[in-house]
């Protein structure tokens, strides 16, 4: 079944300066929606507003045309990967996979390097491995939509390729909104693309549009 997540009418101000004002984003099951923008344009703020844990003066977040005021209370609707690692470092991988009701052997199949780590604590993993586990549990957990904020940071090129394949597989069951500065990787997997510029979202198609909106420099 196809589901739709729509975010618009968003107004976010910090003091006198308006950060977000002209926003329209739509995500659908089966599609990866990319969100690009220069630093400080409000990508993380927008993600958190869609997730519902950042208050703002106005917003409309709709799941299948039904307004949900606090989506973060509904992990069946949406889960959020912040740009930092959020799993408590003292937990073991076994415990994390139990909490999220996921199969560890499925992780082993994609990333065999985790085979001996079943009982390891998160704090004993390397930075890249920690990030990988954070992304994996959000990507794999059942939910209609997932919001991924800079998932590729700290990952090696090989790991990024595997995560891209995982997300492409997962989009069959869910809608994905993703933002990262590795724009080429975002372009590779996105079915739909928005650029966040001057407080608003602009639909984009490829690198030419990214140049037009000032996200990358024209060569």
């Amino acid at each position: 079944m196809t589901h739709t997540l729509t975010a618009d009418s968003i107004q976010l101000e910090f003091g006198m300066s308006s950060i977000l004002s002209d926003i329209y984003i739509q995500c659908r099951t089966g599609k990866i929606t990319g969100l690009l923008g220069r630093n400080g344009q409000g990508k993380t703020c927008l993600m958190r507003i869609v997730y519902g844990d950042l208050p703002c003066s106005s917003r409309s977040i709709r799941f299948d045309d039904t307004v949900v005021s606090q989506p973060y209370r509904r992990p069946d609707l949406v889960r959020y990967l912040p740009q930092f690692n959020f799993i408590p470092p003292s937990l073991t991988l076994k415990r994390v996979f139990t909490d999220f009701n996921l199969e560890f052997n499925e992780l082993e199949n994609i990333f065999p390097e985790f085979r001996p780590s079943w009982r390891s604590r998160i704090k004993d993993l390397s930075g890249g491995e920690r990030r990988l586990i954070n992304i994996y549990i959000i990507a794999r957990s059942p939910s209609r939509f997932i919001l991924l904020d800079e998932p590729f940071s700290h990952l090696s090129p090989l790991q990024i390729e595997k995560i891209k394949a995982l997300l492409t597989e997962e989009k069959q069951n869910k809608g994905i909104l993703i933002t990262d500065h590795l724009y080429q990787d975002i372009l590779d997997i996105s079915d739909k693309l928005y650029v966040l510029s001057n407080g608003g979202t602009r639909p984009a198609k490829g690198t030419e549009d990214l140049e037009t909106f000032g996200y990358i420099r024209a060569s």
């Binding site: 889960r79 912040p82 959020f86 799993i87 408590p88 909490d99």
Partner: protein, 103 residues
């Protein structure tokens, strides 16, 4: 999410400040043993103040970990109210126990 899984998550969160909080409770029980019921008000304020400090430090320094619980459907309010409520009950229990032993 199933009930035992919620309890397990609440316990994990409670473990992050249990040691410090339990030390304060034991210290309060010891003071109660020494000076009697007339200092109960002072001990109650001491316990409340340390619980507020715990709340402040965890909110400031372990804020990132709240996304773990949110992604599992546990709201911040639920985490705090149940764990601090339980800790408060533990404090009252130890004070009553001390009073019972003393008399």
């Amino acid at each position: 999410m199933k009930f035992p899984a919620v309890i397990r998550l609440l316990l994990t969160f409670y473990k992050s400040f249990f040691f410090f909080s339990f030390l304060i409770t034991l210290a309060c029980a010891l003071l109660f043993w020494e000076y009697g019921p007339h200092i109960f008000k002072v001990l109650l304020w001491l316990k409340t103040a340390t619980l507020y400090l715990t709340f402040y430090f965890i909110r400031s320094y372990r804020q990132k970990e709240f996304y773990y619980y949110r992604n599992l459907g546990i709201r911040d309010f639920m985490l705090w109210s149940l764990t601090l409520g339980f800790d408060g009950c533990l404090f009252i229990f130890f004070i009553i126990l001390t009073h019972w032993w003393r008399s």
